[in-house]
């Protein structure tokens, strides 16, 4: 493991090793203190951008979606060598998440009634059934990989059912999501010859091929739906009208792409990261075991703050502006590091302590404002139910082996987490 230099001049947050080796929080702590709006210099692969690490600054950016737009890219990645395909592949201006107001408001209103806390709450019994099936399947085993056999399966099942994606294709959705969002990790670069894995080019190829396969799948799915309409989210999008016009296939395709990818990777990592945090803080785990009601009141929120599964989102400035005394130029990227703002000493008391009773806890794990996570209600409910059932049935569940983190600057991910347990 490389020893990290802790001086702002040497920090390059495009380096996935910082995240893979779990050193990001040390870097963030230093940046908040020394250079809270920090220029990340251009390297041979990516253009420079601003690292934003303070809570108040992320709020200021998020409240101003006309000044800081999403349609020119929402990740730190702006390649030095421009390839027109990159913009196509990242869905610039096409996905809900890369659309700016006023269109964003109207597009979001086509689906948002299905995601309100009330609408989501009505699905609790069904979500508990899914969890029960998942836990039934692991009950007889002495131990499992918690990520692939527990954490991944719940959000995958929920989003796939909503979209109308048949069970036989859920594994494919899992694999393709890993390629699209975790393509920088050699484990998912299976379409690239082994000797070439781990390079920037391998990451690009993996993300491209994963995305193309995902598009192909959903293009076929939409085609079939147009012939044989069904009452699911894709069906709703086919019927939907925006300013008197139906959505075209490309709009629906990007919608499906976003919902599938965002709906399964992020919650998976909150569940896995929550399991790990509870294991590493046995006194906190005991509090939840003694009082499971903590999950609905404070513990799930603390898991979200602690894990911040979306590591960053970026915006592009539409004109010259100033942020905490730094001059942001038109066209420059600002990268909001949610893991950092959720441990900001100005906002959270004792921020490096995992505290399942923390209140208040106004974390920004879901972002805030125009692009506030559409699926937040599902994430919260899935987290609550899975830990309720898990601790009820396997109260002694604990991590038993090495944690393998995702090599990514975008998703705070855990790839593998061996656990053992006995039935209560």
């Amino acid at each position: 493991m490389t020893q990290l230099s802790l001086s702002p001049n040497d920090i390059d947050l495009t380096d996935p090793e910082i995240f893979e080796t779990n050193q990001a929080h040390e870097v963030f702590r230093m940046l908040r203190r020394e250079a809270p709006v920090h220029w990340n210099a251009e390297n041979e692969v990516m253009r420079g951008f601003w690292n934003v690490t303070k809570y108040a600054d992320v709020i200021a950016i998020s409240r101003n979606p006309e000044l800081y737009i999403s349609s020119h890219g929402i990740t730190q990645m702006e390649p030095v060598i421009k390839n027109p395909m990159d913009e196509v592949m990242q869905g610039f201006g096409k996905m809900l998440i890369t659309t700016d107001p006023p269109r964003h408001v109207r597009l979001r209103r086509l689906v948002n009634k299905g995601f309100t806390p009330r609408a989501v709450g009505a699905m609790e019994i069904h979500i508990r059934d899914i969890v029960t099936r998942i836990l039934d399947d692991i009950e007889k085993k002495p131990g499992v990989d918690f990520v692939t056999e527990v954490a991944a399966l719940l959000p995958l099942a929920v989003i796939c059912e909503m979209m109308g994606c048949p069970r036989s294709d859920w594994n494919l959705m899992f694999d393709l999501t890993n390629k699209v969002l975790g393509g920088g990790d050699p484990e998912y670069q299976t379409d690239v010859p082994e000797a070439e894995r781990g390079t920037v080019e391998a990451a690009r190829q993996t993300i491209t091929s994963g995305s193309m396969q995902m598009f192909q799948y959903w293009a076929n799915f939409i085609q079939a739906h147009r012939k044989d309409w069904k009452d699911d989210l894709v069906g709703l999008l086919i019927e939907a009208e925006l300013d008197g016009d139906k959505l075209n296939d490309e709009d629906i395709l990007w919608f499906a792409f976003l919902l599938i990818v965002a709906g399964n990777e992020t919650t998976r990592n909150a569940i896995s990261g929550g399991m790990l945090a509870l294991h590493e803080n046995p006194a906190e785990k005991q509090k939840v075991l003694d009082n499971p009601a903590l999950l609905s009141s404070t513990a799930v929120e603390e898991i979200l703050r602690w894990t911040s599964p979306v590591a960053h989102m970026a915006r592009v400035a539409t004109r010259d502006t100033e942020l905490r005394g730094q001059q942001i130029k038109e066209g420059q990227r600002v990268v909001m590091w949610y893991g950092s703002v959720n441990r900001d000493e100005d906002v959270f008391a004792d921020p490096y302590r995992f505290d399942v009773t923390r209140a208040p806890n106004d974390h920004l794990a879901f972002g805030i404002g125009e692009h506030f996570c559409l699926g937040a209600g599902f994430a919260r409910l899935e987290l609550k139910v899975i830990f309720e059932e898990l601790f009820r049935r396997f109260p002694d569940i604990h991590v038993d082996g090495d944690v393998q983190r995702l090599r990514s600057t975008f998703i705070g991910g855990i790839k593998h987490l061996p656990v053992t347990y006995t039935s209560a």
């Binding site: 948002n112 609408a119 805030i368």
Partner: protein
């Protein structure tokens, strides 16, 4: 001071109602409604919290009109 909820943005997250139940009510249509014409001084801090905490930033103070 008057406070407003932008119904284009509101998604029924209930944060405003939790912060200031005397001022906001989330109804069956998943939208928050303002219950008072003017926010009384003693509820100002609570409404300030609602403005700050609304996930969609749909709750806003109405600008003074001359």
């Amino acid at each position: 001071m008057k406070v407003t909820v932008d119904h284009d943005l509101c998604e029924g997250n209930m944060k405003c109602q939790a912060a200031a139940p005397e001022v906001f009510e989330v109804r069956d249509d998943d939208l928050a409604y303002v219950l008072v014409d003017e926010v009384p001084d003693e509820l100002r801090t609570n409404v300030e919290n609602a403005v700050r905490l609304c996930p969609r930033q749909a709750v806003r103070w109405q600008k003074e009109q001359k």
